[in-house]
Symmetry: C2
Subunit: 435 residues, 2 copies
């Protein structure tokens, strides 16, 4: 088999045979196929697509390029959630404890943030002592004891994806449904789960700007996941503005704790609870999604979910008091408010600009090796649809270093659009796709 | 400027700005842009195409990636021919002496053969002493004295093409009109010519199998060449079977000499004379193509063209007697005939298979560093449309080494199809495209 023939076939819109896809994934992962071969192939896939049969083989081969975890010794369903990413999205911190409290296992392997989006591991590290670098053994032990665990990779999971993602990033081949499906599903299925809930964001602040594109991706992910033998549900959710009100690491842990305490309502609580209910239903720990949703409300209102989160924090070496006394976590010494320049209604809040503002304050990384300031970030006081007067506080910037404060302030101000008319109400959850 | 943004633009079917194309060609030629960037870009160009404006910049930048020869000190038109390649195509050896004898300069830079196609330089090296590795100075001296010269590159001509061609070959991006135009025109215009006649082959034995594709390529080459300030004419010619009857190096020199002596008629003579007439007319050495064609016939019938070829052979260190006494050239010791298995009419002769048969006998290279046997090759006794009886000799294989004789014989036999009905007559020259 020759790579040039495989490239030509995809270039000519022909479907590849399973052994051709396997030849590419194995050869590229092992360094036998050159980057230039892979680059030409990825562009041909980007422009000409793949059939479902091809995608299924792609996912399977990428999944088996590394270690696949096995939790069959644990008696109970294993479920997880994956989001296509957004600013202020801390749903993992809220839903994992709820789902674990409901009796399903959540073996969550997470990553770090880059650019305007945050990373779950960075957020958890705001909690003093919390260890996100567990060994394979410790990972399994926490999962078995607490019903959940959140950590970085314990082993070489889906190395094909790591290599391919780096190449897609520099060759303009990221936004391709077959390649996204291969990447997401191979990594998540390597966690050894039975069920997966996908949160596909759509809107100005999301990777997918159009509903039709998000729908196509969600449907593909659901179908391929099912054909790979997993229970998969995909939600299409709105990301026209940041999710919740807090952006930054300590700030996002605080907001998550408040949601688990039932102190906060709004889009973050709504989406986290809905995703949790879907995971619980998928794992068979409730008879229906609506029954699961009642269970979620119960677990939150009785404080069971919050205690579960504290239990996991302790099991991963962190200080569970952090969720009671937020000053245990690193905070910012300085803050500054921005105010509405006029009377009116908030029309939109550009999520990416809010993310960049928080990054500039130190909450995120511009480059992979930048050091994060856990205390820095942004809190939004007004969201889309809220009425304001001239001078009403819109948001607060929290910072320790003021080197990039001016740019962050200008970005955050620019992220808000104030207008006269109330904008049409936006649905938070557009659709639930089960196949 | 970042290469990934240029790739994304072409991926999204947008036209590139001149500086973006220049950034790519310069950066890639100088090794600053990686092969994987170039590979993704080439596939995007292959699948999404380029506008004429983009192609014009591509040709210009590739042309100026190396040395551009300048013959302005020579008083007269400078013209050349380029063919998209075919088996048995030795028109260069016939037409260059005719055109030079008509008073136009032909500064021909040629290459070597690979696979089933032969190379002009390999053919000329069958003539004892003929030097195809002239220095820049010697190249200019022969051109000035004889009005023509045929040699390999004297300087780094269009290095961007050399690098890009090697990458296209391994990434399945060869058959792309913009990339072919960039490659052909940059190399030919670097010869410092005013006019170019293109021989675009179409048919079973050609790179372009369909008339529509050949027409599109011919039109693009003619238009881009003109917009680059050159006189360009493109002929679409038939390559359903090998051109002429001889395939192999000494054998092709012999056939060319026979044509120049007026001893041979048929497709090779017809095409060579027509291409020569087009070149002469393009160079302004005749008032019209038909007047040029009369001049060609005159130059051949009076032996002027043959003497011009002998003059050039002598100027490039070769033995001009080779064209009189063919035994001066290396010959094959052994030969074997293949015969028709049945009575009928020759339906087709697969040009590629004939080329491979000749290569297997030693006339060509399977790999770049293979050594050629100049005496080896194939002579076809019957061509498409000829009637045969069972046992009529179809072709003869000439060889010194019989290691691959059996495979060559089987390929050559298989190349012939004999049927009952006479096939529809095929036109040799389908179209002449001037813009």
């Amino acid at each position: 088999m020759r790579m040039v023939d495989i490239i030509r076939k995809k270039r000519d819109r022909l479907a590849l045979r399973p052994e051709e896809i396997r030849f590419f994934i194995r050869g590229y992962t092992e360094g036998e196929i050159a980057d230039y071969h892979a680059a030409a192939f990825l562009m041909a896939v980007y422009l000409n697509g793949m059939t479902e049969e091809e995608m299924l083989v792609l996912v399977d081969e990428m999944l088996h390029s590394g270690e696949v975890l096995d939790w069959s010794q644990l008696d109970g369903p294993k479920v997880d959630k994956h989001s296509t990413g957004g600013v202020g999205d801390k749903t993992s911190l809220v839903l994992a404890p709820i789902v674990a409290a409901a009796g399903a296992y959540v073996p969550m392997i997470s990553g770090r943030g880059l650019g305007h989006t945050g990373g779950t591991l960075d957020k958890l590290e705001a909690i003093p002592g919390f260890d996100v670098g567990l060994s394979a053994e410790a990972f399994g032990k926490v999962l078995a004891e607490c019903g959940m665990v959140i950590s970085g990779q314990t082993a070489e999971v889906a190395p094909a994806d790591r290599k391919l993602y780096a190449l897609r990033d520099v060759t303009g081949t990221v936004e391709s449904i077959p390649l996204i499906a291969g990447s997401i599903l191979s990594k998540k299925l390597a966690e050894g789960i039975d069920g997966l809930v996908l949160d596909v964001k759509v809107g100005a602040g999301a990777f997918m700007k159009k509903q039709a594109d998000a729908l196509a991706l969600a449907r593909t992910l659901a179908r391929i996941g099912k054909r790979a033998g997993k229970n998969v549900v995909a939600l299409i959710t709105n990301m026209d503005q940041p999710l919740g009100t807090h952006v930054g690491n300590t700030l996002e842990v605080i907001e998550s704790a408040e949601v688990l305490k039932g102190q906060v309502t709004g889009d973050l609580a709504e989406l986290s609870f809905e995703l949790a209910a879907q995971m619980i239903a998928l794992g068979g720990k409730a008879e229906s999604v609506s029954a699961a949703r009642e269970l979620v409300d119960d677990l939150v209102s009785k404080g069971v979910a919050l205690r579960k989160f504290q239990e996991v924090i302790a099991a991963q070496g962190g200080d569970p008091q952090a969720l009671e006394d937020y000053t245990c976590m690193p905070t910012a010494n300085k803050s500054e408010q921005i105010e509405s320049p006029a009377r009116g209604v908030v029309q939109r809040i550009d999520a990416e600009e809010v993310g960049v503002a928080a990054m500039l304050l130190g909450a995120g990384r511009g480059k992979v090796d930048d050091v994060i300031d856990p205390g820095a970030g942004v809190v939004l006081h007004r969201k889309v649809g809220d009425s304001v007067e001239a001078g009403t506080p819109l948001a607060t910037l929290y910072y320790n270093e003021q080197a990039k404060l001016a740019e962050a302030r200008s970005r955050l101000s620019g992220a808000y659009s104030i207008g006269e008319e109330a904008p049409p109400p936006a649905k938070l959850i557009h659709k639930v796709i089960t196949e």
